[in-house]
Symmetry: C2
Subunit: 233 residues, 2 copies
DNA sequence: GTTCATAAGTCGTCTATACAACTTCGCCGA
DNA sequence: TCGGCGAAGTTGTATAGACGACTTATGAAC
């Protein structure tokens, strides 16, 4: 294995293990030169590529630091819905329908790819934008990765915000489809008859495991999902 | 400007101008050393970063070449719907409803951010998966970028396929929402009453211009949009 | 105490060189 | 004609050294 890759992996491993957290200082190029007995150019390449990957941020004269939770993926923004709403200048409010610990059954176990009986949390939250329900979030979380998930107050911090804080995001998968809501959904979202919903299934991986499965349901007429991608020089 | 950036830009410019096309050979590191009077490490960095950006592919022993149209964006796959259907093992068929040249009017001009009167093509195509309509594609294309768009046979090559061939994709923007179809849509997609659709608005840029605006409408129950993103070491 | 100059630490870039691995192609011999 | 060998070209990686720009802390001068 190339030596610059070994350096990158050692730092990525430290992030995955929690030995390095967002904001923490990463060894400087000079220190890596000593630790790994490489030339400075090799240490430089390792850190430079980690910066390109968004793992660290570097400031000339200051040092290299683990990047904040996630500048987000490249496209579909994994942003905090609370922030998003506040940026639009509206009040944000959350109503927690439920948040309890469960054992995975034959229906829920496949969602997180675990065996039946595994402990997990099951939360349902309705997010409001200025009194109007804008998203229903039904989420399953691996209990082992977030043991105190059941005690959190999601009116103060969204599950997304909490999870990106305690578990470094490694991979995200989205599926989007358009359906008609069932009666319960319709009630929670305050929809009139015949209004469709946009349903997004979001799965997130951390520390090499699938840790969360969420259904995010929006009123089709009150929500747009936006994504952009561009190449640069 | 750093010298490796100057090299990258010169190559990116050549791609944008059409002087370099997919598959074309890019000057080797040794040639760049002579052309730009830099050290090989500097030329190497320029080409290496272009490879990371997906602009070129490099093969040890062989050379560096402009990458194929697009390995796709990073997430939402800009894939050929025909390929996608065939990969699922079904027959693909397209029905061209219209394909004509128009002048931009007050409604269509803003879509491509051009002034009223600009020549553009307006095509409507229904894509079928094994007899079932799976997508309606209504698209506006800047005529100046694709002068022969009006003469193409879209039952043999999709607009997407054609456009990515003649114009290097620089930026893509997606917006997704869920709505109820109007009567005409419902007919074309063969939907029963009360079935919602997933409507995606896709805008693509090439050579620094917005060149295409497309509405892609899918039956909500017969389509899923999928996207994934992951960081690697 | 405040302000300013200086020094140390750090990253950003660039050079010159070296060796290894791989690809391609031509040449030579069987 | 076919096969194999080797040379030339190309990329991948690594080293040692250099200079510049920026940040931070230290300490001196006011």
């Amino acid at each position: 294995m190339p030596r610059y890759v070994a350096i990158k992996q050692s730092i990525c491993d430290a992030v995955r293990d929690g030995r390095l957290n967002p904001g923490d200082r990463v060894p400087s190029e000079a220190e890596l030169v000593q630790q790994f007995d490489v030339s400075r150019m090799t240490a430089n390449r390792a850190l430079r590529e980690l910066q390109a990957a968004g793992v660290v941020v570097r400031r000339a004269g200051s040092g290299s630091f683990i990047a904040e939770p996630k500048p987000i993926g490249q496209m579909i923004e994994i942003r905090n819905i609370a922030e998003e709403i506040r940026e639009r200048g509206h009040a944000y409010r959350a109503r927690v329908i439920q948040n309890r610990e469960e054992r995975a059954n034959v229906e829920t176990a496949p969602l997180l790819e675990v065996s039946v009986g595994t402990k997990l949390f099951h939360s349902i939250i309705v997010h409001h934008e200025a009194e109007f329900p804008i998203q229903i979030e039904e989420r399953f979380v691996l209990a082992s990765i977030a043991p105190d998930y059941g005690t959190l107050d999601f009116t103060r911090m969204t599950p997304n915000e909490y999870l990106t804080r305690i578990a470094p995001l490694e991979r995200v998968e989205h599926r989007v489809c358009s359906t008609m809501p069932d009666e319960r959904m319709r009630g929670m979202l305050g929809l009139s008859d015949g209004e469709p919903v946009l349903q997004m299934t979001r799965r997130t991986w951390s520390r090499s495991r699938l840790v969360s499965h969420a259904w995010l349901t929006h009123p089709g007429t009150r929500f747009e999902l936006s994504a952009a991608f561009s190449i640069d020089d």
